[in-house]
């Protein structure tokens, strides 16, 4: 059950790697588009700026590889920026993204008393139906650091919600693609549980 972790200079690659090692996952880190397509599952991490990230993904052929991987119907987990870049576009640097899930990444509005980035632990509310959240109570806290949030066109794609000046979609899913805005690799035992749930999912 081999998992590819996409390496495109994302800031949290090392933390994701450490969490996967801790869970004894069978994984490899790669920036090679062909290697990605050989994997059974894909983790698409991300910390950084959407425009810069898309430039790297396009220039390296990783953008196409991620799209092809998704279209092949294999499980994919996006983290943080990885939950934004799967949408059609991002308001960050007005970036055209991978367009796997219809929608856009939007910037938090300015609102008195609310700081941006949204940084810290916040509750993730879910209805218990999605496999990623098995064994995780609705309302458990996860660690967030972001200024933009995913806004899928079809609200049914939202599997979790979180409140920070607005109620936003902190987790989404379409077919075998799931993505979370927070950082499971930095969210203590519930974060590790979520990653474990992804590891446990049978691939094909």
């Amino acid at each position: 059950m081999s998992i590819a972790v996409v390496d495109y200079n994302a800031g949290n690659l090392r933390s994701v790697e450490t969490a996967l090692k801790h869970l004894h996952a069978d994984f490899f880190i790669t920036n090679n588009p062909e290697k990605i397509l050989e994997a059974e599952k894909l983790i698409f991490p991300g910390v950084g700026e959407a425009g810069a990230a898309m430039n790297v993904l396009k220039a390296t052929g990783l953008a196409q590889a991620i799209s092809n991987f998704y279209k092949s119907g294999r499980p994919l987990l996006g983290i943080c920026l990885g939950s934004q870049i799967i949408l059609d576009r991002s308001e960050e640097s007005d970036t055209i993204c991978l367009a796997l899930v219809p929608g856009a990444a939007r910037r938090f509005p300015q609102h008195a008393g609310y700081k941006v980035p949204h940084m810290g632990w916040n509750q993730v509310v879910h209805d218990g139906s999605h496999y990623l959240f098995q064994g995780i109570p609705s309302g458990a806290s996860f660690y967030f650091v972001h200024s933009y949030y995913p806004d899928p066109s079809n609200k049914k794609a939202c599997i979790t919600e979180t409140e920070y000046m607005i109620r936003f979609c902190s987790g989404l899913c379409l077919d075998k693609l799931s993505a979370v805005q927070f950082h499971p690799e930095k969210s203590g035992k519930y974060g590790l549980k979520l990653i474990q749930n992804f590891l446990n999912l049978s691939g094909l």
């Binding site: 800031g11 950084g48 980035p117 974060g191």
Partner: protein, 256 residues
């Protein structure tokens, strides 16, 4: 609702935890990795490691500590203490820290913040600032550097705003007047900075009682509170602190 973070600070010298950490529990209090793991299991929201190693050749020991901490705790942590260049920031982040705290070096060369934020992201660059009450300054607080020993010409509020515009993602505000007193955070300057910048402000210096944390959240609007000796000496435990705050309607992470 975003929770108020409780951050524990550990001073590390030559790879060992210092500053009179006295635990009642039977753990090796000199080992920063074991300390980190202990607090992680107690539900700390974030950790800060201050490297007080004097010489740069011993920096490698700290990098090793950072890497081992990263393998053992799965919450964010930052590293500070004498970090003054982009290669040093990169080394600490690659070892597994989420954030790097810059202080005196950023005052001497503010481009460190700008360059660090553009290379690694705003969320990685924390400005640590030490301030001293000084009525001759416009905001009535002066920035001091080199561990509080050297006064600068910088006004505390002006510097906080400048750092924000340069790309700092967070400010750890330490009051030299309050530090070590255990009589409570300096609420006036914390409120002043917290209300005038758009990035999170972590209050530091002076915490000795649990009520001090309640004050800094309710009266000074801090986003997070740094604590050290009140837990290192087992005067209070994290669960005690969090349950008190929860009873007083401060949102904190209880289930971890």
């Amino acid at each position: 609702m975003l929770e108020k973070r409780i951050i524990i600070c550990l001073d590390v010298r030559n790879g060992r935890t210092t500053k009179g950490v006295k635990f009642k529990e039977n753990i090796d209090v000199g080992d920063p990795v074991k300390m980190a793991r202990f607090y992680y299991e107690q539900g700390v929201d974030e950790l800060v490691f201050y490297d007080i190693t004097a010489s740069s050749e011993k920096r490698k020991i700290m990098i090793d500590v950072v890497a081992r901490v990263a393998e053992n705790i799965f919450i964010p942590f930052s590293v500070g203490g004498g970090i003054g260049s982009i290669p040093e920031i990169r080394e600490v982040l690659l070892a597994g820290a989420e954030k790097v705290s810059v202080n005196s070096h950023a005052v001497r060369d503010p481009s460190l913040i700008e360059e660090g934020a553009s290379l690694f992201g705003q969320q990685c660059i924390v400005l640590g600032m030490d301030v001293l009450k000084d009525d001759s300054m416009p905001s009535h607080y002066r920035v001091v550097i080199d561990g509080g020993r050297k006064p600068t010409e910088l006004d505390a509020l002006a510097w906080a705003k400048q750092a924000e515009s340069l790309g700092a993602g967070e400010i750890v505000l330490n009051s030299i007047d309050a530090d070590g007193t255990q009589e409570g955070y300096e609420l006036t300057v914390t409120k002043l900075i917290a209300e005038h910048v758009g990035i999170p402000v972590v209050a530091s210096g002076g915490a000795g009682k649990i009520s001090h944390l309640l004050d800094v959240f309710t009266k000074a609007h801090a986003d997070a509170a740094l604590i050290a000796s009140m837990v290192h000496f087992s005067t209070f435990t994290l669960p005690q602190i969090k349950s008190f705050l929860h009873k007083n309607h401060i949102p904190v992470r209880l289930d971890f």
